[in-house]
Assembly symmetry: C2
Homo-oligomer: 140 residues x 2
DNA sequence: TTGTTTTTGCAAATCATTTGCATTTGGTAA
DNA sequence: TTACCAAATGCAAATGATTTGCAAAAACAA
């Protein structure tokens, strides 16, 4: 069973219908090594699927988000980026010059448990982003 | 010298003119225990200053951001929130139900130096947000 | 294949944020 | 103080991301 069929099953298990639009959105996310915005996804698809609408992309990404199929990130300014949730919890290191993105292991496990004790909060989720200059951009 | 005069001096030192609009925006930020959106600030001021425009608030917040007077945060969905930079570097713990916000000490110092060694990146900045339920909301 | 329910296409609305331009204002030098 | 100039503001309109309403189309269960 390929990756795509795996995601199809995941959606079906949650009672989400497997439409052509959902399939191609997942395919684009699967093929990408970095989080993508709704616009990014739409741009990659509109050539082959002229009837596809940006609103459909948004609607599905939001539905995926609610069903924990994708995670939404605010890496830069205004637009959300989305990535499939594949079990490996991680964060991102972003080059502010070339926009390169590196996934990072999460260093916050024990911090969170201490936090829980200190504050009485139930910790549900977190986000971490590190900004910097990649080795290449560093030297112009 | 009060807090306000301190910020006035800070702006003047950077060559930023001290206008009435800038003063009242800083006053609102100073009075708040939590980061505020441009809308939040505007809403608190428009009654007393009917001529003030939202665009003026945005323009000044952006100028403050460029001059490291405020820090911009994406705590929730789409809108940026702003807080004065007062020297104490910290993060935020946010209750997803009542929107309570707690400042957190930063646990990332050594993580960053390890990161620098591992990746070759020059680390410039970072953001961390923790989401959870506050003790009160936890019990309905 | 039929019927029910969900999803999509499409157009238009909404919300955060930015921009252009004429007018006003803050700071400075006379 | 006054006059000047650069920078900031008021105002209106534009932009860009995201959402919404509704009729038509597609998915899935029976």
């Amino acid at each position: 069973m390929g990756d795509l069929e795996l995601w199809e099953q995941k959606l079906r298990d949650k009672g989400i219908r497997w439409t052509r639009q959902r399939r191609i959105i997942i395919e684009v996310l699967l093929a990408s090594t970095r989080p993508l915005s709704a616009q990014d996804i739409f741009a990659k698809l509109e050539g082959d699927y002229p009837k596809l609408r940006l609103s459909t992309v948004y609607r599905n990404l939001n539905s995926f988000k609610d069903n924990k199929i994708v995670r939404a990130l605010n890496l830069n300014g205004n637009e959300q980026k989305f990535e499939l949730i594949n079990g490996h919890h991680h964060h991102h290191l972003i080059c502010i010059k070339c926009d390169d993105i590196l996934p990072l292991d999460c260093p916050l496990k024990e911090f969170e448990s201490k936090l829980k004790d200190d504050t009485g909060y139930t910790i549900l989720d977190h986000r971490m982003k590190i900004y910097g200059l990649c080795p290449n951009c560093k030297n112009h």
